[in-house]
């Protein structure tokens, strides 16, 4: 039982890192960033390519995170920026970008999975009945570190306050002189960095392939809806809840339908609160 809970924790941390990236972007631009899966995939391939070219793992990881950030910013500059005032068009643009990014990876590296080797591949911790593989412990560490850094950025720096202002109310922030366009790019930069971290944390536990991030993205979106679109703290708590739920479901009900339990949670929430738990989009009518 404890092993299942620990697995749930690993899943939860992974979902948290991905979901926070999604929530940030949604909070600032009300865009469902489906292309985030493509960012994670390309970041993972960049890390693999750098490692394959002989770079030590640490350097390759940095290359991966940088690639994630660059790709994420590109998606904002080239496409999302033009849809900010047309919310109905944003799902379409997001899906178009996902097609492009995923298939760029497919075209560049082919469909066969590749393994991402890390120095801590064979490391193993054993606490009582629970075994903690090195790669999964690294995943938790990376998640905690990156989320803590983000929290500091959002609460302590003026940069973070400006972003939270834009998340609260775009028009009001604009009136107060907050450079809106820079906030969009910044949100996508941070989301890209988090995407890179998610890639180097997640890829070693399985393998690098163009479709590795699809399930994670779907579960992360459940977390974003659970935590209320646009709230970072909500995303982290939602991620841990979903991680444990999916792990319990897959251990005790059926491992084939692991992500189906995430969907069940999503359905329960949406039936009760059609606009999410802590909806930020003010009721347009009032």
């Amino acid at each position: 039982m404890s092993q299942v809970l620990v697995n749930g924790l690993f899943l939860g941390c992974l979902f948290a890192v991905v979901a926070v990236g999604l929530t940030l972007v949604y909070g600032v631009m009300e865009v469902p960033n489906f292309a985030h899966a493509g960012v994670i995939v390309l970041a993972a391939y960049a890390t693999w390519a750098a490692g394959d070219a002989g770079a030590p793992f640490a350097l390759a990881a940095l290359a991966g995170i940088a690639c994630g950030a660059v790709v994420s910013v590109l998606t904002e500059v080239l496409a999302y920026r033009w849809v900010v005032d047309k919310p109905a068009a944003s799902p379409a643009v997001a899906l178009g970008l996902l097609l492009i990014l995923q298939n760029t990876a497919l075209r560049g590296y082919g469909g066969a999975g590749r393994s991402l080797d890390t120095p801590y591949d064979t490391v193993l911790f054993r606490i009582g009945p629970v075994t903690l593989p090195g790669v999964k412990v690294a995943l938790v560490l990376l998640a905690v570190l990156s989320l803590a850094a983000l929290h500091l950025l959002l609460s302590r720096t003026s940069l973070g306050r400006a972003m939270r202002a834009v998340a609260q109310d775009r028009e009001a922030a604009a009136m107060l002189g907050v450079p809106i366009r820079r906030q969009y790019t910044l949100a996508f930069l941070i989301a890209g960095l988090l995407g890179g971290v998610a890639a180097i944390a997640y890829a070693p536990t399985f393998q690098v392939s163009p479709y590795m991030a699809d399930d994670v993205l779907l579960s992360a979106f459940v977390v974003v809806v659970l935590g209320g679109l646009g709230s970072v703290r909500g995303a982290v708590t939602g991620a841990l809840v979903l991680g444990v739920a999916e792990s319990l479901g897959s251990a005790y009900v059926s491992s084939a339908y692991q992500s189906a339990f995430g969907f069940l949670l999503l359905v329960l929430v949406l039936v009760r609160w059609p606009s999410g738990l802590r909806s930020t989009d003010a009721r347009r009518v009032a």
């Binding site: 066969a112 999975g113 193993l124 075994t131 491992s255 692991q258």
Partner: protein
């Protein structure tokens, strides 16, 4: 008026469509001494470790056959193979390729690897003999349709070898099985392992599974390892079980790992990364004999020629792919026709083991290649030698009337 423009656009669209149709596939080649047959292989996708090797071997086989050519009804012919990629998804791309080959190009014989069940409805519409050079799933694919032929022994002829070897050599008393759920080859292997374990008196202490497309095998591995087995059996194809092997070793399991996927060194390095040597230690593979470990001189010569030409380790399926042109030539000569699928189909049941083949088939009664559509091949258990970073034969055996016979243990496999 707006819908009139739509109609105009539509007409243009359909014309474009029809022109593409007339281009390719305008019936068999002009020169009638050149005979064309088909081959649907998995060049990309989950099973992409199999297709390219099959194509390489077939190319060598056709070149060898066409050096002397083959005579049918008094006239000398040469063979040409039309390849198609089923993208490891026979139900979508494979069926389309089969329809294109049988209905548009009207090819008389088709070789294929996977997807027997999905081709059955199309075979009922347009019967054509199809020669399987790979799929040893249990229960046998031959039960699906009378037009299918299998050029290798089924998994029921080699999985029992796994259990008897580990019991005698490793003293295994209990085993755990981890299966790829929904992958037909793996699910067949699991049934066979349970049946032969019972026969050998080895207890199956745990069975767990993971969904085919999944990325996290933690729960399945924990169930298996928690039962403290003497050995773990991973049942599926190479591309699917190696990531599981990696997580199994990462989770701290150091005992022997058995499988029947025919992993070779190149595949291990590609999928497991540069720690492949440590991860593959204590691995035992029970499947068909490999060209490199076969006792037949012709097979060993083929293995060397294959390695020199393609610079990759020859898998077991390369022998059967190499022999496909020779089987077709023998059947057409026997049938006296290079175009009639029905005659060729009947001839396949009557030919003996063709000259120039390298698979080293065991003779069937009446010296026939196929008895009720199946050919017999020897089987072996190989082990991983960390020193030479490759595999070596540990035991060869045959399987007749439900029992393991002619067991030959290698004195020092890795020596």
């Amino acid at each position: 008026m707006r819908s009139r423009t739509a109609a105009a656009l539509l007409a243009a669209g359909s014309i474009a469509l029809s022109t593409t149709a007339c281009g390719p596939g305008s019936g068999p080649g002009g020169d009638d001494t050149k005979v064309k047959v088909g081959a649907i292989l998995s060049m990309s996708g989950v099973y992409s470790t199999l297709g390219p090797a099959e194509k390489n071997a077939m190319t060598m086989g056709v070149e060898e056959l066409n050096r002397t050519g083959f005579t049918v009804a008094g006239r000398k012919h040469t063979l040409e193979i039309g390849y198609a990629d089923d993208k490891s998804d026979p139900a979508t791309t494979g069926v389309v390729a089969l329809r294109d080959m049988t209905q548009s190009q009207k090819l008389p014989v088709i070789a294929y690897g996977l997807g027997s069940a999905t081709y059955v409805p199309q075979l009922r519409r347009k019967p054509v003999p199809m020669i399987n050079i790979l799929d040893s799933s249990y229960p046998s694919v031959l039960a699906q349709d009378p037009h299918l032929y299998l050029t290798r022994g089924g998994s029921d002829t080699y999985v029992p070898g796994c259990l008897s070897y580990t019991k005698q050599k490793l003293g295994t008393k209990s085993i755990a099985v981890i299966t790829a759920k929904g992958e037909p080859y793996g699910e067949g292997l699991t049934q066979l392992v349970q049946k032969s374990a019972q026969a050998e008196g080895v207890k199956v202490v745990a069975t767990s599974d993971y969904p085919l497309g999944s990325t996290d095998y933690g729960n399945a591995i924990n169930t298996a390892v928690a039962a403290k087995p003497d050995a773990v059996y991973l049942s599926s194809v190479t591309g699917v079980i190696l990531p599981v092997l990696k997580q199994l070793r990462q989770s701290g399991w150091t005992g022997p790992v058995l499988h029947s996927s025919g992993v070779n060194p190149d595949q291990a390095r590609a999928i497991l990364g540069n720690q492949f040597n440590t991860l593959m230690k204590d691995n035992y593979d029970c499947a068909g004999t490999l060209p490199t470990t076969s006792a037949h001189p012709a097979t060993a010569a083929f293995a060397k020629a294959y390695q020199e030409r393609w610079h990759e380790y020859p898998q077991d399926l390369t022998m059967w792919a190499y022999d496909y042109p020779f089987i077709v030539a023998a059947a057409m000569t026997e049938a006296g026709s290079t175009t009639d699928p029905v005659k060729i189909d009947r001839a396949l049941g009557a030919i003996s083991i063709p000259k120039g083949t390298v698979s080293g088939w065991l003779p069937n009664p009446g010296d026939l290649l196929f008895t009720d559509h199946g050919a017999r091949t020897t089987s072996e258990v190989t082990t991983w030698c960390p020193a030479t970073q490759t595999i070596a034969s540990a035991m060869t055996f045959d399987h007749r009337d439900g029992a393991i016979v002619d067991q030959v243990f290698a004195k020092d496999a890795c020596g």
